[in-house]
Symmetry: C2
Subunit: 202 residues, 2 copies
């Protein structure tokens, strides 16, 4: 019988570590907790990982990558600002709901990283926020969004609200990620626009 491909076990460990880190936090989760969840002894994990922090790093860094790489093409595309914002909200929530544990850990546990890695993550988080701001800026320049918006501030509000979805979203809940995205975008964009048409344009 074919043996499990190398790294298969490792992925399982990363998955369960992500779940536990997101539920109890990095410091609230022990190596023995993670091992016990897949019926291993604590020390046995070290056949697959180098350290506990490496686990956190891989989870957080993959999430950072997922967020950045999904937003970049949208911002660089040739759509209207409103379309871009709608898409950005939808794909952000797609990442958040598809990689829910990683998103929670990315948002709440990056402080536990070593200074170097923490700085790396912060830089990418800043880059992501800058991309988002770019959309609002374009909207103002195009005359569709109000000129009196505090762009960095509103961007923070938007991203915080969207990231919060990672905490309460349940796949079996009544709302799909797409429905959540639509409700949020409808509300948010209406608040940004200069004039308020009966229907928010798409």
């Amino acid at each position: 019988m074919a043996r499990r491909s190398q790294g298969d076990r490792r992925k399982t460990i990363l998955r369960v570590a992500g779940r536990l880190f997101s539920q109890r936090g990095y410091y609230g989760t022990s190596i023995r907790d993670i091992a016990g969840a897949i019926r291993l002894q604590g020390g046995s994990l070290y056949a697959h990982i180098a350290s506990k922090e490496e686990l956190l790093w891989e989870i957080v860094e993959e999430a950072a990558q997922a967020f950045l790489s999904s937003l970049e093409p949208i911002v660089r595309s040739e759509r209207s600002p409103v379309e871009k914002l709608r898409l950005a909200v939808a794909t952000h929530l797609q990442v958040v709901t598809e990689r829910q544990d990683a998103a929670v850990v990315f948002n709440h546990e990056w402080k536990a990283l070593s200074p170097k890695r923490r700085a790396d993550i912060l830089a990418r988080r800043d880059a992501y926020e800058a991309l988002f701001r770019e959309i609002l800026r374009e909207g103002i320049e195009a005359g569709v969004f109000r000129a009196d918006l505090n762009v960095p501030l509103i961007t923070r509000f938007i991203l915080t609200a969207l990231n919060g979805v990672a905490v309460w979203y349940r796949p079996k809940g009544p709302l799909s990620p797409e429905q959540i995205a639509e409700a949020f975008a409808d509300w948010a964009i209406r608040g940004l626009q200069i004039c308020n048409p009966a229907e928010v344009p798409r």
Copy 2:
């Protein structure tokens, strides 16, 4: 010389515990960290507190009280829904910025409480959210807010965005709590209203 009134030292401990819990999390902060921050030995804290969890509990429970008791009179008042929402946003941000550490701990560290205390906090958090929803509901009933709003969902968005301020707000930053409240309320209310006047009413 008059000795420091009893409990003065205790308040200092609570303050620094709140700061450390908010910066490094409950599990990331040791009793010796807290003691060291006021130049005491770890064991010396136990002349003032019963346990580490008691510290967390007092911080979290006081924050819960502050939020609830500041919102209740607003919801029960005779103002218009728009006025109520503006006030609710402003006082929420007032609590968040005046008791910043406690607000962060309240939002992120309640999971570390014992099951009974965790349930208590969750109940009060739910009650608070329900009060907030009440404002949106009234607005829809009065015909000033759109009837197609998903009230629980939008309420979550609003509260998550507001709570996020506790994480990034700096007293010496360029924006006062009142300015943050105004920018948020302008944007949020514009997104809720059926029609979009040039100026948001007050």
